[in-house]
Symmetry: C2
Subunit: 329 residues, 2 copies
């Protein structure tokens, strides 16, 4: 049974007993309506050996990474992270020095993002397990859900794709070369797109949004499932970093597959309403964007729910060998 | 390094970047001020082999238990639990049937307590680790902190003490006798004192409160530390269940030590302002209490910070061999 099937089973008969709950299980975050703003809540666990290898990180960079991976869910709803709790389950040999370093990296990043550690738990365990719950805020009724896409809506992504997966491949291949450095950095130190997500939610043009943690196609699949649409992605439109294809080639990896299925980028995928695309493109050309990275149109949502394809330059569907990270449990 | 020392280290330089945070790390919950009510947030992790043995529980009763253990922190602030997230880290052999049963027990209990599962995470791990974050509500400015006790305040507890520790001892001794049943039930199925905590917070008489999870003395120690007081506990005043002393004796355990240091009761310990004791006792005698269990005065808070004692019938301090559960990591 994989992760998604289990979540489906678990959540099949959850009934809300609060009229304040605007969005429950099934999106990036839950949304609790308040009188002055909405609260958005997300929980993520990171298990040594499943989600990360200790040898790839310093304790401080691991703390920074799990902070960004966690608040990325808040960014994907268009909210701003405000508070978080951390549960730290630590194996005997990890030691208090490394615990302190991990917290230090995490707290520095949190301070930088105006987010406060408000509680948590520490306990012994067989392996390192970190669980973070983030509470964010968004203007009332302004959170962007996964379910808002409609046929004809344009599909966009922030930043570049596949970099983190390539970085992880470089680490696993023990590749010390210069070409590996920027990709390894993207894997080790992802930056949650908080400013971009918050701005996108403010434009009135965006109909759905998700963060890319499992891989582009896997996450666009979630948008399509929640919205009841299909999608078409144009392979040649996918934004890639300078030197990406050459670096992937050096490791014997296909650049296209990395961009379509590589996880851990923590970029945002979102849709723009069909009749707002022109206005949105106009905003993108403006000089007042509160973020520096690219925003790129990569396809469209379709009315045919079964049409879920990546198309090559000639318009032919490409065969995708991996559907993203599906953690089997 | 033990759990409390590590938490101290971790939290030593947490600066809040939000004026909404009324109480951060160091109490049972964090308190986030809102315009219509305060939100209270608490996170707890439960690790197989550290916090529980799988063989002591059905999956469903384990789910019920971690729900109550988690919301007990909300009860200890005088709040009502509303929402929770659950992260479930599951070892390979646990199986989806047992996962579903665990969630079932947890969701039934949550439904009964008008609390809604709003999110979480599921992942593989080496051992079963459950992390629950509960979000509760309390009337603005009405949460009861650990730090409000003053010298002369009266110390009370709800229910009876030591039952859960005795129940666990019965389970560990594989004691199938009838006398063990009620104590095993108290260990397996603790009931968070939500109604009592909420009522106590509404009386205007209660100055500090905590839930008894680590053992009476260990938790009263937290009240005294946070409030800058000492305390005196009268051994003969400690409320005990019918047959408690005989059952403890059968297992060769000292009843007094079980009541002073046994964990997992999830009763509430609280203080009543010195000049409100009479009014409070009057309320207790009324017929409209929204809960059925006892409330018992067991001692007082003292001005001498160093005076932290349990006294026998003759008024002599007893020597306490265990200071409650201190999880060493």
């Amino acid at each position: 049974m994989n992760e998604f099937k289990l979540i489906e089973l678990i959540t099949s008969d959850v009934h809300s007993s609060s009229e304040k709950l605007r969005c429950g299980i099934g999106d990036d975050c839950a949304v609790i309506g308040g009188s002055d703003c909405d609260l958005i809540v997300s929980t993520d666990s990171f298990v040594e050996g499943i989600h990360f290898k200790l040898l790839h990180f310093t304790p401080s960079s691991l703390g920074k990474r799990i902070f960004n991976a966690s608040v990325s869910d808040i960014a994907a709803m268009g909210g701003l992270p405000k508070f978080f709790t951390l549960s730290l389950c630590v194996p005997e040999g990890f030691g208090s020095d490394r615990c302190a370093e991990l917290y230090d990296g995490l707290k520095r990043e949190a301070f930088d993002k105006k987010t406060t550690l408000i509680g948590g738990d520490t306990t012994k365990s067989a392996e390192l397990v970190l669980t973070m719950t983030v509470i964010g805020e968004a203007a009332s009724g302004r959170t962007i859900l996964r379910s808002g896409a409609r046929p004809g809506d344009a599909l966009y992504v922030t930043g570049t794709l596949g970099d983190a997966a390539l970085g992880l491949a470089c680490l696993d291949a023990d590749s010390p070369d210069d070409f590996a450095r920027p990709f390894v950095a993207r894997y080790r130190n992802p930056a949650a797109r908080i400013d971009a997500g918050h701005w996108l939610a403010s434009t009135d043009h965006v109909s759905s949004m998700i963060d890319i943690s499992d891989g582009l196609l896997a996450d666009v699949e979630h948008l399509a499932d929640s919205s009841g649409t299909g999608y078409e992605v144009a392979l040649e439109a996918l934004p890639r970093s300078e030197g990406f294809e050459a670096a992937a080639g050096t490791l014997g990896l296909g650049a296209d597959m990395l961009m379509l299925t590589g996880g851990d980028d923590y970029e945002l995928a979102f849709t723009v309403k069909e009749d707002r695309v022109e206005a949105f493109e106009g905003l993108l050309k403006g000089s007042n964007l509160p973020f520096g990275h690219a925003v790129t149109r990569i396809g469209s949502m379709t009315g045919d729910v079964k049409r879920r394809v990546a198309l090559d330059k000639a318009g032919n569907p490409v065969s995708v060998t991996s559907g993203g990270y599906v953690h089997s449990i």
